[in-house]
Symmetry: C2
Amino acid sequence: MTDHLAPSTSRSLSPLDQDRHFLGLAVEQARLGWAEGGVPIGAALVHDGQVLALGRNRRVQMNSAIRHGETDCIERAGRLPASVYRRSVLYTTLSPCYMCAGTALLYEIPRIVIGENRSFQASEELLRSHGVQLDVLDDPDCIALMQRMLAERPELWLEDIGEHA
Amino acid sequence: MTDHLAPSTSRSLSPLDQDRHFLGLAVEQARLGWAEGGVPIGAALVHDGQVLALGRNRRVQMNSAIRHGETDCIERAGRLPASVYRRSVLYTTLSPCYMCAGTALLYEIPRIVIGENRSFQASEELLRSHGVQLDVLDDPDCIALMQRMLAERPELWLEDIGEHA
């Protein structure tokens, strides 16, 4: 996927509108995951304005303990040179858990755009202490996705963050 | 896999010998991974003396950016209740990277037995700061596996830890 935001489009958007565009792709992934019966969290990995991969939490869909939105996205991007990760931005609908934060630290992804951190927040201090730039958009769609999940599938959410159901 | 260490055997081994036994299973996984052309790092997840899963780095084998020894092991253990992770020990032939450390923090695994940390060490301070008990066995077999890799496949190792080759 290399044509999600052509250079001409990219130039015409403000930085915030570019972030909203890519976060919107992550939101689409989250909605797709919810429609599949899964945890509604999505992510996008973007390098120089080009989408390298999209991903979504696949705990339910793949019976997975490690496929969160961010890790699924990074997995789907394939094996990349260190230089690519280090010039990429990770978009995620929800503030990263420690696993996903650790994955961003491993690959030295320098910036993470976070849809919202009201429903969950664990790793932001750690990420900032390592110099990762975090931008929280406080996006109503991301908040609504999590609120619906917390109301309708609380046990699945607790499982996903390693808490007692 | 529930019969790797029957209770009677478990009782007859000292705690250190039990750790060496389970680390030995992780070493077997690391050797298998090397024989497959992969990164020679293995892991075992053990709950109350029973092996829940074994795993090994599968970057090469599965073309994966997230299947390190520890994450592969946790993935293969399946979706577990929080209470199981919180009474488990993670054995790994090499000191965890941030991704694998973050995964242990997500699931609140209380103890990690580390084969060696001479070849690589990144996350031990973070893990200890969260109360994770770390025991480093400084195992010659684990060190030898990494030394051979660093000599023969340095570019693969650098890729695996997100460094420039």
